[in-house]
């Protein structure tokens, strides 16, 4: 109404020609500050409230799980030729959808850059963040978020040209290393060489692509980044087969799904979807044999598949939750194999990601 009245003034008979007088600049500055203060206080208030709602109820109401996803990382979250999202992290999101809705397609992917991923989680824009996020203490203690497990044990490694004849990172004394500038990667290299009393020369680049290209053109003896990334990077070399990834891992990069703090029901759900994938592999339950396994006499399998006990209900799901996950996607081993393992172009070995009873670190507490 006020605006209408203001506009009506224009229909009067006398016109004042447009003048260029504008509002005083001091006043304008004050206004900007006021708005900024309002935005900041509202934002901090918002973060406090967003975390307290029941995520599982929200998810059920929306009819889909919203996952913070990779904007394109080989093997973990990447669109295939038809544009369908594929990858280890993507399948974890589908597993949650399968557990909640018995339908792995009820997952919505919101690709996030590494800068805004934690903000997006804290603001409730996504329900769970499964996006190559390294679990560190400071992130968990200051950002209001919590890791639900480790779905991939990554670590920094080195790639070298076979010509060099180097079989171990310990032999890299005096080497020139290509690395991306200003990353923890650069610091890890410095730590590693100092700890092993070796000399090295570092050549830094603004982006990982530039560093990779420099290595490929022979500027450096070695290029370093996370080992899962090295496997993908090797594919983009001029002659991929001429390069070897050295066995040493010089840093810990535990990657896993992240949720907001303060919603333990949802944290439990995400955590146990991960555990269920591991236990299924441990007990030999696969996508192909899950129906037969329902008839198994093994009490562990009975509890896992919901034939005995009400473990699914205690999570707010149906008791057949693991059956739903495994029928849709298979167990952890199958998911790994398909996306980053031998059946994928990355051909990563299980290594630390093998089950605990096969020499790896993947260990799930029992369902009982």
């Amino acid at each position: 109404m006020v605006i209408a009245a203001m506009l009506r003034k224009h229909s009067a008979d006398v016109y004042v020609l447009p003048n260029s007088a504008e509002v005083g600049s001091n006043w304008r500055m004050g206004m900007k500050k006021l708005i900024l203060a309002a935005v900041i206080s509202a934002a901090s208030f918002g973060i406090a409230t967003a975390a307290s709602a029941g995520t599982l109820d929200n998810v059920k109401q929306k009819g889909q799980v919203v996952c913070g996803a990779n904007p394109g990382t080989a093997g973990f979250g990447v669109p295939d030729q038809q544009g369908n999202w594929t990858g280890l992290d993507v399948e974890y999101c589908r597993a949650i959808a399968a557990a909640v809705f018995n339908d792995p397609t009820k997952a919505k992917f919101v690709p996030l850059s590494s800068k805004d991923r934690f903000t997006a989680l804290a603001s409730g824009e996504v329900d769970v963040l499964i996006r190559n996020s390294t679990w560190t203490m400071s992130r968990e203690t200051t950002l209001g978020i919590i890791w639900a497990g480790i779905n991939y044990y990554d670590g920094q490694g080195f790639i070298v040209n076979n010509k060099l004849g180097v079989k171990s990172a310990k032999e890299l004394n005096g080497a020139t290393i290509c690395v991306q500038q200003g990353t923890t990667t650069e610091l890890n290299v410095a730590d590693y060489f100092r700890a092993n009393k070796m000399e090295y020369k570092v050549v830094t680049f603004g982006t990982s692509e530039e560093a990779l290209k420099a290595y490929d053109s022979g500027r450096c003896d070695s290029y370093t980044t996370d080992r899962s990334g090295l496997a993908a990077d090797r594919l983009s070399m001029t002659k991929p087969d001429d390069h070897t990834i050295l066995p040493e891992i010089i840093s810990k990069e535990p990657l896993g799904p992240v949720v907001r703090q303060g919603d333990d029901q949802w944290l439990n759900l995400v955590k146990w979807v991960h555990n269920a994938l591991l236990i299924s592999e441990e007990l030999g339950v696969t996508k192909a044999n899950v129906d037969e396994m329902m008839k198994s006499e093994n009490p562990e399998i009975k509890r896992l598949l919901g034939v005995e006990g009400k473990f699914g209900e205690s999570l707010g799901l149906s008791n057949a939750w693991v059956v739903q996950i495994v029928k849709a996607l298979g167990n952890y081993g199958e998911v790994f194999d398909r996306n980053v393992g031998p059946s994928s172009p990355l051909k990563l070995v299980r290594g630390s990601n093998a089950l605990w009873n096969q020499g790896g670190l993947q260990y799930a507490p029992p369902i009982r």
Binding site: H10, V16, L17, S20, V23, A74, Q81, S113, T119, G124
Partner: protein, 379 residues
């Protein structure tokens, strides 16, 4: 009898002009070799063309790989000859680049949207097209409805709903730039008028809006719209993320448009306002019939400059997780199946070609329109 006069009885055949006043050689001499500097520059340019064109042709066309199923098949050792651009990467991903994750069975709906938009644009931009007024109604009322219904779907019409997170690629680029252009121009004009209004509150609101928006980068606006904005809303009440970005982009460019239009308004002599008032025209009639047509004509280059900027800035939406044309290309580059040396060249050459065609098209149209509307100074 002595013949005192001579009169030619037939007309002589016309002689060719001396080669110094016409012909190819003269043109070459006058334009390319008129001075020593000019000659040197000409030779340098010719050399530059000679040095680049054959190589580019070889790389982009002759040596290019046109069909392959994986990145490996594009490598020289597998093709068995020197290879250039791997166009197979582009052709095999074309569906993804154009439609994003839009379900393949529903692609015809996107095509319908493209066709409806093309019809509207040709109708409005081609000066001799008939029924201009109907065209305006079509583009600003009917086309948005057609576009909205066909893209989002409607259960009533039997069209499966497609959530906007499945939209991607060129579709999203076109949706954002069309929405941005169509909304920002009228809003920008209103803001420009508001800023020059004599009503203090309207002026104040316009000034605050324009200066605030111009004072922040587009990335901040997008980040605000997609990450911060949900914080202010109650739980479970989330406007669609693409919609938030659309509104953010449109308002952002409206502020720039307002300043471009204000430039035009200021260039109109006071006499035009006074003449309009002397005729007894009201404010809006004065603006619509006298001032704006002249002002907008002056600022066509600025407006089109903003349009081109907007079209290219749509690539920034990638940072808030919306897969525009460029982002789909970048994301496909990470696909391990297609990961191979030289693949980024194919991807980025293709992207730049597409952007160039659209931006150059807009620029040429605006130059043509300027020349056509340049009636005031043509005598």
């Amino acid at each position: 009898m002595i013949q005192t006069r001579f009169m030619r009885e037939t007309i002589l055949p016309q002689e060719a002009a001396p080669h110094r006043t016409s012909g190819v050689l003269l043109w070459v001499r006058e334009n390319l070799f008129s001075s020593v500097t000019n000659s040197v520059l000409t030779l340098l340019s010719l050399w530059a063309l000679y040095a680049t064109i054959p190589g580019l042709f070889q790389y982009l066309i002759v040596d290019a790989v046109w069909s392959a199923n994986t990145g490996k098949e594009c490598l020289a050792e597998n093709v068995g000859r020197p290879v250039g651009v791997c166009w197979a990467f582009v052709t095999s991903h074309m569906g993804y680049f154009i439609y994003g994750q839009y379900p393949e069975a529903e692609w015809w709906r996107v095509d319908l949207f493209f066709a409806a938009e093309a019809l509207g644009i040709v109708w409005l931009l081609w000066p001799n097209a008939p029924y201009k007024f109907a065209g305006i109604i079509y583009f600003f009322v009917i086309f948005p409805i057609i576009g909205f219904v066909s893209l989002t779907g409607s259960t009533m019409l039997g069209l499966t709903p497609v959530a906007t997170n499945f939209w991607g690629g060129f579709l999203v680029t076109i949706v954002i730039s069309t929405f941005g252009i169509v909304v920002s121009l009228p809003v920008g004009i209103l803001l420009a008028l508001g800023r020059r209004s004599d009503m203090p509150i309207v002026r104040l609101v316009s000034v605050i809006f324009i200066e605030f928006v111009r004072g922040v980068p587009l990335i901040t606006v997008l980040f605000m719209a997609n990450v911060m904005f949900p914080l202010f809303l109650p739980d479970g009440w989330r406007p669609d993320s693409l919609l938030r970005v659309l509104v953010g982009v449109a308002l952002f460019f409206a502020a720039y448009m307002a300043e471009a239009v204000r430039g035009g308004l200021q260039a109109i002599p006071r006499g035009q306002y006074e003449a309009a008032q002397a005729l007894g025209l009201g404010y809006w009639r004065m603006m619509i019939k006298i001032i704006l047509p002249q002002a907008l004509k002056i600022v066509i280059p600025n407006i089109v400059n903003n349009f081109i900027g907007l079209f290219k800035d749509t690539t920034l939406v990638a940072i808030v997780g919306i897969f525009d044309f460029l982002k789909t290309i970048q994301a496909s580059l990470a696909d391990p199946v297609w990961r191979a040396a030289g693949m980024p060249f194919a991807a980025y050459i293709f992207a730049s070609l597409v952007f160039f065609v659209f931006c150059y098209g807009m620029a040429r149209y605006s130059m043509w329109m300027e020349a056509r509307l340049d009636t005031g100074k043509r005598h």
